[in-house]
Structure formats: structure tokens, C-alpha cells
């Protein structure tokens, strides 16, 4: 700790603080322009100059100067103000000052400072900038005439996102921010640069001329897409979400979002949203009243009783899931499930068997402080981009060593310090086993109170790095290095994502990963952690609330099997579109056709077209409640807009249904949460109203394993086929709902089949050509995309698009043998 005086106030602060941070902590205001909390100090703008007694004779930039013992700082004086005013005058010499048509007007740092320092005239003359602007990009508008060269965009895209779109080009007065070769942007479109720019030089294009910042109502809620659980702040006007606002004070994402969270909001105001219940009459879906629909459903449900199958989505709030559970128990059915391919088995079965828990053991802020990180499956960045940014921060700030067990290269492989452990598709477990083998063989394991070490050691005899390397085409030395790093690191993290496109071996992968986490001592150690991250916004909540089959119940896939055979008369789908997203489309369609189907969703989805009753539901922006994210953080959603037409939130629908079943239901989400804390282990003691802006992590920052059992799992034989298809996620999409959002669709508008360079040459295919994949007698066709991240023989397709019909050949395999051909 260091003692210093700022404006006569005695202050004690951390040794690592800068003068600015020390002042801010103590409520002393110093203006800044190029400073940002989440970026490294830079010192470009000189607006934050202060006077330090010990360094008399010149002014000191407070945002880059560390505090020292006994420092005496003055933050305002006539001289300082004069200098600050001069700095502003300099900035305004070339600045275009088109505030009336600049969307930043009203929340522009330059505007605010100009006002504060009363810069009404300018002693200096100069030419105004007249640079070309980029207004064609669908998501990010750039107007460098308004740039103040603070470098925040350059820094955030490099330090946080790890993409590096921008840099300063030219020199002196000509200096400007530009992309490589000064071309258009072609990046992740996460919009971090948009949120960082203190002026109107980088703006969200979809918000162009829509409203002024002061007209927007800010509503703090949680992103409805993935399990990362980023907090977002909706900018609401005229019952529409106009934009997503920058807010770094809530959640643990420091205001960082991905393209889906920042630009994927338009579906909530889409004109094709369902607004009235529909009932099938005379073979057609016709509008009906809520009462009629609910009566019909209640009758059917009661008649079906224990033969009702309920498949829920993982984007319902915890409170809604609680009511859904109530409905299932009121009807006596055990057939309750979420996420079609039982991809969550890793958590419910895998982690439970080895450690007796079913959640990630650490929290995101701990990952930032890790020294070694292992990502299993290269898609991790694509499914959980903001967690990917946390990993990037660990690398930048902490020099962490990242290893990626991957069947294809991805964003993570490109980060500095990244070591990609490439292997043949479907062989993740072999790789993890090899890591475990090295740790045991080299005596690096932390074996205290581990059960089953002998069996595991024996079973791993076949998994020496050399054998595995040979079998799956990996690099044995790299495996050894990674194993040693993980075992030796003070803090380490293992991250795995699960979701609909990765249904195969999810339990086995989780067990293998827990073995590794136990051997390295990562699981349960303060600062380290094993992270199993669900694909959807409330995947963890669904696990915590056990939206899983009861003792005599069928899982989602079995329900569909059963329904297809006519043994399950009634199916209730809440917020799921299995026709598009579940494995084995043929089976799904048959099941939906055969059963009396009730679908509750935002849109008339492909699955809803088979329904007998369709209920219009509410999006995440229209409801209150809580989501639990992949690090067990319970965060509050707040309604920002009203649902269109007669659409109702799932909570209200479930309430009415419970009433129709002569059962009582909690009156509001807050009451439901109260009941929930009594039923869900770990949630006890958490009070809805007290869940703060940073949320509430159940089970504490570090969740200790209840047991430590090592279980041997066998690896897989690589598939012997010339061409192998991997199914996965694209960065710009999450599930299928993002394909109804303008933002993601403007940068990734259609399905594609991705090929590596070598295969493209062999097949004579170029980006944009139509190609066809044939597997088990079924063909799918799409445009090709040629890239250099896939090894020879490996083909990739994202699963989000209905148009591709990928699940006609994807039936839950980890990898599919296909025959590609050019059309």
C-alpha cells in the first residue's frame, strides 16, 4: 500500500494503482479520454494532466503515472485547466464537429469535455479532416473525421478481442486509424471497438439515426444467446430494442460482448413474431383465443398424463423451468428433458460420477489469472466468444500458456502462446487420456485422496503420447509439454463447451477431462477450475433444476423415438426447434407428425408447422427472472419491452396451465425464485431482490468436488474415410434463433460447407461454388467456403441454418463419413 495526497485528501491505495485510479477510487474527478478501465494505460490524449508537487515544472498524465509514497497531487488549478482547454482546442482544430448528425451526440466524451471546459472559440486554425467514411458495412460505421486518435479501438481489438483489425497508419497530421491496406472491415464484428470509441468515429450501423442517447431507456438484463451469460443493457424506445448500450459496470464481462449479443437483438422486434395462439382446425393452423388453446391443451395433457413428453429449451428462465417442472409433476410424467442430444450428459453423468457435482468449479475472473489453460474442442471460441476473450486476457496479462485440443484450427489457435494439439476428428478422449498418462508416468500427479488411481494408471498404459500421437496424428512432444504445464501451473483451467452440435461422447469427454482436472489438482483448487460451458443462456439453470428425465422417464431423443413409434401420444415443445437443430431430422419429423404436438415459441418454426396447438411466447427482453450461466452465476433479467400482440412469457403460460390443472402457481418470478431456493441445492440463501449487478455465484467462487474418483474411459478409433464431416457452431450464430436476427445474418447470411485448401484443390471447388455431400444415401447441398483452418480430408458445416438440412445426415455422430462432389 502507498500513501499519497490528492487535492488535500489523504489516500491509501494499492502499489499498482495509477494516480487516476487512486483518485477515482476516492471519488475525485479527473477527466479522461483515452483511458479505459479494461485496457492497459496508454497516455495518448493528455487531458488527464495533473500537477505533482515532487515533479514540479511540468504536468503529469495521471492515467499512466503510478502512485509513489508521499506524492502530493493537485487535480485542478487555473494552469491545469488552461492546458486541458488547449488540448481540447488542438483536438477541435481538425474535428468536423457535426454533432447534429452524429449519433454519438449526447454521450460523446469530446462534446462533454468541450462543454465542461467551455471551449467556445479556437485560437488555432487548421483544415478540417475530409477522409472517406465507411458506411457500407452493415454493422460498424466508421467516420475517421471524428477520430481523436485515442487508440482505444486499436487496443481493445488487440488486447481484449485478440483480432487486431486496426492500427495507426501514416504519420503526423496524416495519422489515422485504418484496417490492413485501409480496406473494409472483415472481422468478428463483436463491436468492442464501437463500445470503446469515446467519440462518433466508430458507431453501430444498425442504430444509425434511430434515436438520441438521452431518449433511450436503459434496461440491464442478460444476453439471451449463450451460456456465457454476458450482461447487456438494452436501449429501449417506442417499445423496441433500438440498440445494445455499452455498460461495463454490470456482470463480469466488462462490457465485452460478441456479435450475437451486441448486434443480434433484432429478432425480438421482428414482424414475423407469433402474436396469437394457433389451433389446428381442418388441417390448418388458425388463430384462436388463449382460453380455447389452454383448455384444449389441458385436456390433452390430462388425458395423456404420464405419457406426456416435455422437451424444453435451455433459454427459459430458472423460474419458468421451475413451473415447467411443476406441470410435469402435476401430470405425473417423468418424460421431461432439454437439449435434444443429451449433450449435457457430460455434466449430469460425467462430472457427477467423478466429482459428485454438475457444474463448473471456478468463475471467469479466476481464468484471467491462470497460467495454463487447456481448451478441449477448437470451437470453444465460436460457442462462447466472450469466454474466449477472457482466455485471451489471461494470455496477454498473465502470459498464460494456452493449449487447444482441436480437430480443426479456430480463433483460439491464433492467439499468442497458443499450442494447437491437432488430432483426427472424434478422438478428443485419446488426447486427454494421453495428457493424463504423461502426468501419471512422470510423477506429476497430485494423488492425495484420489480414488481409482491404480485402475486409471493401468487403463492408460495404452495411451502413451507416442501411441496416441501415432493413432490420431498428433504431436507427442506437444502433448507432453502441455501435460507438464498443466501439472506445474499455479493456476490452471480446463474448458469444454457442450451443445446440440456436439452430442457424441459428451459424458466420456467430461470424465476424461475430470480425470485430468483431478490429477492436476485443478478441480476445486482456488484460482483453478474445470469449466463445462453449456450452449444456451440457461443451460446450467436447466441442469441445476434437473430438467432431465425422472427415474422412469425418457430423454429427449428417446421421447422422439417413442413418439415416432406412436407410443407417446402428446409432445410439448417449449422453445425448441428440433426439426432444425436436433440430430436425425427424419426421426424428429416422424415423431412430431405422429403425436399431438404443442409448440410454445417466438416464431412459427419448422417444428411449429407440425403442431396442433401453437402458443406465442416472449423473448428474453420481455420478461423478468434469472439465468444461471456457465460459471454458476445467477443473474437477473429485466423486461424492457412488451410482447407483441397476445404473446405471453412462458412463466405466464405455465401459470395458466397450472391453474387449468387445478394447481397453484407462484404469482411472480420473484416468488418462484423464493420457492426455487428451497428446492435446488446450492441456491439456498440467495434472495431474488438482492441479486446485484454482478449476479450471485451459487456454491462460491470455487466449487469443491464432493468426491474424487478417477474413472478410465476408452478413446475412439479414428474414422477411416477419405472425407469426414464435422458439425459445429459458427461464431456469428447461436442455436437457430440468431438466423432470424438481422445483425448476424448480415455477416453470415446463409449456410455453407467449409473445406480446407487442399481438398478444395482436389475437388476443384472455389468459395461460392455449390457442393454436395453424400452420406448414408442422403445428400445435402450448399455453397462452399474455402479456408485454411481445416486439415486435409476434414469438412465442416455449421448447424444453425434450416436451409441446409444438416441433421438429415447428422444423427448424433462425432464425425460423419461423407462423399463430397462439386455441383
Amino acid at each position: 500500500m502507498v500513501n499519497l495526497t490528492i487535492d488535500g485528501k489523504q489516500i491509501t491505495t494499492a502499489k499498482t494503482s495509477t494516480i487516476y485510479e487512486a483518485a477515482k477510487e476516492n471519488g475525485i474527478y479527473i477527466p479522461v479520454l483515452c483511458y479505459a478501465k479494461k485496457l492497459l494505460p496508454y497516455g495518448a490524449c493528455r487531458i488527464c494532466l495533473v500537477e505533482v508537487e515532487q515533479m514540479k515544472g511540468r504536468l503529469i498524465p495521471s492515467c499512466t503515472t503510478p502512485v509513489t509514497e508521499g506524492m502530493v497531487v493537485t487535480t485542478t488549478s487555473d494552469e491545469i485547466n488552461k492546458v486541458r482547454k488547449t488540448v481540447l482546442e488542438f483536438l477541435l482544430v481538425n474535428h468536423v464537429v457535426d454533432c447534429p448528425v452524429c449519433d454519438k451526440g449526447g454521450e460523446c466524451d469530446l462534446q462533454d469535455l468541450t462543454y465542461e471546459y467551455e471551449v467556445v472559440t479556437n485560437r488555432f486554425q487548421g483544415e478540417k479532416f475530409d477522409l472517406p467514411t465507411d458506411e457500407v458495412n452493415p454493422l460498424i460505421e466508421r467516420n475517421m473525421n471524428r477520430c481523436v486518435l485515442c487508440g482505444k479501438c486499436v487496443r481493445v481489438c488487440d488486447e481484449v478481442v485478440g483480432y487486431g483489425s486496426y492500427s495507426f497508419i501514416n504519420r503526423g497530421f496524416e495519422t489515422k486509424i485504418a484496417t490492413a491496406f485501409d480496406r473494409g472491415l472483415n472481422c468478428e464484428f463483436c463491436g468492442q471497438c464501437v463500445s470503446m470509441c469515446p467519440v462518433g468515429a466508430i458507431l453501430p450501423r444498425p442504430f444509425k439515426f434511430k434515436a438520441r442517447p438521452w431518449q433511450l431507456k436503459d434496461v440491464d438484463t442478460v444476453c439471451g444467446y449463450c451460456g456465457n451469460g454476458c450482461t447487456v443493457t438494452l436501449g429501449v424506445k417506442d417499445n423496441q430494442v433500438q440498440t445494445i448500450r455499452f455498460n461495463e459496470d454490470t456482470g463480469v464481462n466488462h462490457g465485452n460482448l460478441c456479435v450475437r449479443g451486441r448486434f443480434g437483438y433484432s429478432y425480438v422486434n421482428d414482424a414475423t413474431r407469433l402474436t396469437k395462439p394457433l389451433i389446428r382446425k381442418g388441417g390448418e393452423l388458425r388463430e384462436a383465443s388463449w382460453d380455447e388453446a389452454l383448455v384444449t391443451i389441458a385436456e390433452k395433457f390430462k388425458a395423456a398424463g404420464k405419457d406426456l413428453g416435455i422437451i424444453s429449451g435451455a433459454r427459459l428462465t430458472n423460474e419458468e423451468l421451475l413451473l415447467l417442472k411443476r406441470i410435469s409433476s402435476a401430470l405425473g410424467t417423468h418424460h421431461l428433458d432439454h437439449s435434444g442430444g443429451e449433450c449435457y450428459q457430460g455434466l449430469t453423468a460425467g462430472l457427477n460420477e467423478t466429482m459428485g457435482i454438475s457444474a463448473s468449479t471456478g468463475t471467469f475472473p479466476q481464468v484471467e489469472k491462470c497460467n495454463a489453460i487447456l481448451a478441449i474442442r477448437s470451437d470453444f471460441y465460436e460457442t462462447h466468444p466472450v469466454f474466449g476473450m477472457v482466455i485471451n486476457q489471461a494470455i496477454r496479462l498473465n502470459d498464460a500458456q494456452l493449449s487447444v485440443i482441436a480437430d480443426k484450427r479456430g480463433k483460439l489457435s491464433k492467439l499468442p502462446n497458443a499450442r494447437t494439439l491437432m488430432h483426427k476428428p472424434g478422438c478428443e478422449i485419446n488426447m486427454i487420456n494421453a495428457l493424463c498418462q504423461v502426468i501419471i508416468a512422470e510423477g506429476l500427479a497430485k494423488t492425495d485422496d484420489l480414488q481409482g488411481l491404480a485402475e486409471l494408471t493401468k487403463a492408460l498404459a495404452d495411451y502413451t503420447p507416442e501411441t496416441v500421437a501415432k493413432m490420431v496424428g498428433a504431436d507427442a512432444e506437444a502433448i507432453k509439454k502441455t501435460a507438464r504445464e498443466l501439472a506445474g501451473a499455479k493456476n490452471a483451467a480446463i474448458v469444454v463447451a457442450y451443445g446440440l452440435p456436439y452430442t457424441a461422447h459428451s459424458k466420456e469427454i467430461a470424465i476424461a477431462a475430470s480425470n485430468l482436472a483431478l490429477l492436476t489438482g485443478i478441480a476445486g483448487r482456488e484460482g483453478s477450475g474445470l469449466y463445462l460451458c453449456g450452449e444456451k443462456a440457461n443451460s446450467q439453470g436447466a441442469i441445476d433444476l434437473q430438467i432431465t428425465p425422472g427415474p422412469a422417464g425418457l430423454g429427449a431423443q428417446q421421447m422422439l423415438n417413442s413418439a415416432a413409434e406412436g407410443r407417446l401420444p402428446v409432445l410439448y415443445l417449449v422453445g425448441e426447434d428440433p426439426v432444425v437443430t436436433y440430430p436425425d431430422q427424419g426421426l424428429v419429423k416422424k415423431a412430431l407428425e405422429k403425436s399431438f404436438l404443442v409448440v410454445q415459441d417466438l416464431f412459427l418454426t419448422d417444428s411449429a408447422k407440425y403442431a396442433d396447438v401453437v402458443l406465442p411466447a416472449a423473448s428474453f427482453t420481455e420478461k423478468d427472472g434469472t439465468f444461471t450461466n456457465a460459471e454458476r452465476r445467477i443473474q437477473r433479467l429485466r423486461a424492457g419491452i412488451k410482447s407483441p400482440g397476445e404473446a405471453k412469457s412462458d412463466f405466464v403460460v405455465f401459470q395458466s396451465l397450472l391453474n387449468k390443472l387445478q394447481k397453484t402457481a407462484p404469482a411472480a418470478p420473484a416468488a418462484a425464485f423464493g420457492e426455487l431456493t428451497g428446492e435446488v441445492a446450492g441456491y439456498a440463501g440467495i434472495v431474488y431482490e438482492q441479486i446485484g449487478p454482478q449476479g450471485e455465484v451459487w456454491g462460491g467462487e470455487t466449487l469443491a468436488p464432493l468426491k474424487k474418483v478417477l474413472i478410465p474411459v476408452a478413446g475412439n478409433e479414428p474414422l477411416q474415410a477419405e472425407y469426414q464431416l464435422l458439425v459445429g457452431s459458427a461464431l456469428y450464430h447461436s442455436g437457430s434463433v440468431s438466423t432470424r436476427s438481422k445483425g448476424p445474418m448480415s455477416v453470415c447470411p446463409e449456410p455453407y460447407i467449409e473445406l480446407g485448401r487442399d481438398d478444395a484443390v482436389t475437388l476443384n471447388v472455389k468459395t461460392g461454388d455449390m457442393i454436395q455431400l453424400k452420406a448414408a444415401g442422403v445428400t445435402i447441398q450448399s455453397k462452399a467456403k474455402v479456408d485454411n483452418r481445416l486439415p486435409k480430408g476434414v469438412i465442416f458445416a455449421p448447424y444453425h441454418f434450416a436451409g441446409l438440412g444438416l441433421n438429415r445426415i447428422y444423427t448424433g455422430q462425432s464425425v460423419i463419413a461423407v462423399e463430397p462432389s462439386k455441383l
Partner: protein, 132 residues
């Protein structure tokens, strides 16, 4: 006492003589309007559009909240008011809008004969304000 009374009355009578009245015979006769009079608003036209750039400052400053602006992007990528409307029944003719406008796109004219028959007729939309 009578003297004072006669004196007072004579002043009154003097004013009754022709040429001494301050009342004008409106509408036949009209007073000259002061140059800073605040009457009906006018949107100033520019070359091929209105001068207004839809900055939202006038609706923000308006104490009667009677100005509606809805901005949009035109084919040239410029910001323009797709909707610009003033509800004259609510307007208090304070002139703040004129003062706030950064581009001098709105003025107040000398027109004060604004009576009308229907409520709707007091809604002045963009086309009307451009012509007024």
C-alpha cells in the same frame, strides 16, 4: 373639486375624439408586427430538402413537448426528419426551438391568425411547416 372632475373628464373626452384612439379596427386594419414576434413556426427549406437535420434538439428543449421528430437516413445517407410535426394547440410560442436549433432550420414567422375549426388542423406537419 368640480374643477378636478372636469379636468379628468376632459382628458377622457379628448381621447374619444377621432384620431386619438389606440384601438385598431382589426381585421380591416393591422398593427405592424415587431421583428422578433414569435408566431407560427416555419421550417427553412434548403436546396432539395429541408434544412433540418433531425438532431432532436428542439423536441428535447421544448417545454410543452409538442414537437415530434423522427429521423431517418435518406438515399444520400444524410440524416433527415422523416416526420416533423408541431402540435400548435400545445405550443406556448416560447421560441426555445428556434434558439436550440444548431443549423437555423426553424424560425418563427409573424403569422398569428391560427384559429381553425378542427383539432386536427392544428397539427402542423413537415409539408405545412415548410410552406408556412
Amino acid at each position: 373639486m368640480f374643477k378636478e372632475f372636469a379636468k379628468g373628464l376632459s382628458i377622457t373626452l379628448k381621447h374619444l375624439l377621432p384620431g386619438h384612439s389606440t384601438t385598431v379596427e382589426y381585421p380591416k386594419q393591422r398593427l405592424e408586427i415587431a421583428p422578433r414576434f414569435r408566431g407560427l413556426h416555419r421550417l427553412v427549406p434548403a436546396q432539395d430538402r429541408e434544412k433540418c437535420v433531425a438532431c432532436y434538439l428542439c423536441p428535447t428543449v421544448c417545454p410543452a413537448k409538442c414537437i415530434t421528430v423522427e429521423s431517418e437516413e435518406n438515399e444520400k445517407g444524410e440524416k433527415y426528419p422523416r416526420v416533423y410535426e408541431i402540435d400548435l394547440l400545445r405550443c406556448i410560442f416560447c421560441g426555445y426551438c428556434v434558439e436550440a436549433c444548431p443549423v437555423e432550420a426553424i424560425e418563427m414567422t409573424s403569422a398569428y391568425e391560427l384559429a381553425n375549426f378542427k383539432r386536427g388542423d392544428f397539427m402542423y406537419d413537415k409539408a405545412r411547416l415548410l410552406k408556412s
